[in-house]
């Protein structure tokens, strides 16, 4: 980058906004961060983060294939991710998708095989499209220069659709996520809600892949939500916090990537991981203090009970 970083932040922002690609990157990043923060929060509550990762990996051959065929990469991402979400929803038993982790080993071996095969297919399309090997990195690890105007429009429509759907059935989704059995008893179609959520997750994963790359979606889809869950137990506050964190990570990451020679994937993952570590450390400290407080209170009760009244 020719731009030089100075400590005058307003001037830096002006420098960045002088480039059309940077404006596009920030717009795309904003849409993606809001959607990923919101959907990611539910995903973490529902423990489906590996479904999110699998969907993002499935998006990679979609994007590579679209570029090979001369179609906009965004359509490839969305097409493959949504199709993948429908397949996972159809296969998931019991109204709950598998997480691919902690479950039985056979199942996670199958998910690993599917992911490796999807990556192999993406590699095939990339190598069929000659001269595109340099684009491989931006598909896998993200880039701030790649977002076209058409892609931006697609992202906006998909993102708005996602948020409207989430607003429409968010309450029922939360209920079904926190306590599926009671929700089922109260007449909420848990299986349908699960399927619909997986489709939303597919859209969010497709969008996130376009900023962070297919392999690093965890940075925006999981880390902000996981950080929020560690900071507050209230759903509304957690949802807002998750979105705010995702936005902060994206904007700061894109800003640093603009002024440094290192790619966005590195900065976004590092920022997300750092904030997650801080939150986890804070949570551990609070828990320990709470436990100490509780044991002290217990001691006080014991001593007062033991003393002759």
């Amino acid at each position: 980058m020719n731009a030089r970083f100075s400590w005058n932040i307003a001037d830096d922002v002006r420098q960045m906004l002088a480039f059309h690609f940077m404006v596009n990157a920030l717009r795309a990043g904003t849409i993606v961060a809001v959607v990923a923060g919101a959907i990611g929060y539910f995903m973490v509550l529902r423990r489906q983060s590996f479904a999110g990762h699998t969907l993002a990996v499935i998006g990679f051959p979609g994007a590579a294939g679209a570029i090979w065929l001369g179609i906009n990469a965004g359509f490839g991402y969305f097409g493959f991710c949504i199709a993948g979400a429908l397949v996972i929803a159809a296969l998931s038993r019991n109204g709950r998708a598998n997480t691919g982790l902690g479950g039985d080993a056979q199942e996670s071996a199958v998910i690993g095989t599917v992911q490796a095969f999807a990556l192999a297919c993406g590699f095939l399309f990339v190598s069929l499209y000659k001269g595109f090997l340099s684009g491989l990195n931006s598909l896998l690890f993200g880039s701030i220069v790649g977002v076209t105007d058409t892609q931006l429009v697609t992202l906006l429509i998909a993102g708005l659709g996602c948020l409207v759907a989430l607003a429409a059935f968010g309450r029922r989704l939360l209920f079904a996520s926190v306590d599926p059995d009671v929700a089922q008893a109260r007449g909420i179609p848990v299986r349908l809600v699960n399927g619909a959520f997986l489709v939303l997750l597919g859209i969010a994963a497709a969008g996130t892949s376009q900023v962070t790359g297919s392999l690093l979606v965890f940075a925006l889809l999981v880390a902000p939500a996981a950080t929020a869950v560690r900071l507050t137990a209230r759903p509304a506050a957690g949802l807002v916090l998750s979105v705010v964190l995702a936005l902060a990570v994206t904007w700061v990451g894109e800003g640093i990537a603009f002024f440094s020679p290192y790619p966005i994937g590195f900065w976004v993952t590092t920022l997300a991981f750092g904030s997650f570590l801080l939150a986890a450390g804070y949570r551990a400290a609070v828990d320990r203090a709470g436990r100490r407080g509780a044991s002290r209170a217990e001691r006080v009760t014991v001593s007062t009970a033991g003393s002759p009244a």
Binding site: S49, D104, Q106, L136, A219, A223, P263, T269, A272, A280
Partner: protein, 320 residues
């Protein structure tokens, strides 16, 4: 780059002979066979022990290790082996309890890959020879590009690792299937876990030279999962898994040679995935034909009973 003359001769024996006359094909077959056997055997234990996730972790580490070595200007393989074996040992010592939260693990691995991208940028901006092809090689392997010396080294290391694995196979199998009883019988369960994960790490380093860091996990998981579908006897499944991996690599190499547009690692992964798919279909067909005549039988309650199969927590896991 790679000298490749495509022979579409009608005589298959002649075609195979021509194929095997190329030195680069010979190297690919020699290194590929031992690496495949190693991956198949190690992968079986990985799946049996429920450590699939550790395998995935080590493949991420392989990428970052290799690129760190490139950025530092040392041999790529040095970074590969150092990173994967050390992290394997570390995982073995920390992770006595079953892996932490999926969120923690996923976020950490995304960061590890992000770090790899950082080393990639460092390598491409600071070295004059740096270009995208080294990165593609690390990610997706280049088994046809393996040199004679590299093939020899890879084969020797793979053979050594297979030897170690066979020596510890019996106690490893015992401690994988029933760790408590194994510990009571005097099997050193505590030290065998880290040793095994170090072997997994070295296997990841080996396999990433053949099919790349992103796909090696498939070579570990797919033949093992296919073998588990086909037999319940662990001593039969273990060699079967190794054989299936070799078949995948051989047919992948032949496909990659016959159709130069197909990358060899894609062909290998496709055959491995097909093996699993066929094994799963065969098993489903078998169990259905077995279940069909015994309708009023209480033997198979899990599959059709209210559509609720056994949940994963009800299946006794080898790690207990």
């Amino acid at each position: 780059m790679i000298p490749r003359t495509v022979v579409s001769s009608a005589d298959p024996i002649h075609g195979v002979a021509t194929m095997l006359s190329h030195p680069f094909i010979q190297h690919a077959f020699v290194a590929g066979t031992t690496i495949a056997l190693l991956s198949g055997l190690v992968g079986y234990f990985v799946v049996l022990r429920g450590q699939v996730f550790a395998g995935d972790a080590l493949s991420h580490v392989a990428y970052t290790g290799a690129l760190a070595a490139l950025a530092a200007g040392v041999d790529l393989r040095f970074g590969l082996f150092a990173a994967t074996v050390l992290v394997g040992l570390a995982l073995g010592f920390i992770g006595g309890r079953r892996a932490a939260d999926d969120v923690v693990i996923g976020t950490t691995f995304a960061w590890v890959l992000g770090l790899g991208v950082f080393f990639l940028a460092l390598y491409t901006t600071h070295s004059s020879t740096g270009n995208g092809s080294a990165n593609v090689t690390v990610l997706f392997g280049s088994i046809f590009g393996i040199s004679a010396s590299a093939a020899t080294i890879a084969t020797v290391i793979a053979a050594g690792l297979i030897g170690v694995l066979l020596v510890i196979a019996r106690p490893l199998m015992f401690s994988s299937i029933d760790p408590t009883v194994a510990a009571a019988r005097g099997v050193p369960v505590r030290s065998i876990g880290p040793l095994f994960l170090a072997i997994v790490g070295a296997t990841a380093a080996e396999a990433s030279q053949a099919i790349g860091a992103l796909l090696l996990f498939g070579l570990l998981a797919a033949p093992a999962a296919a073998a588990q579908q086909l037999t319940n006897n662990p001593w039969r499944a273990l060699p079967l898994s190794g054989m299936l991996a070799i078949v995948a690599v051989w047919s992948g190499l032949c496909l990659g040679y016959a159709a130069p547009k197909l990358p060899a690692s894609f062909a290998i992964m496709t055959v491995a995935t097909a093996e699993y798919a066929i094994a799963a279909l065969v098993t489903t067909a078998k169990s259905r034909s077995r279940a069909a005549p015994s309708h009023d039988h209480d033997m198979a309650p899990s599959r059709d009973h209210e559509g609720f199969p056994l949940s994963s927590d009800e299946i006794p896991s080898p790690n207990g």
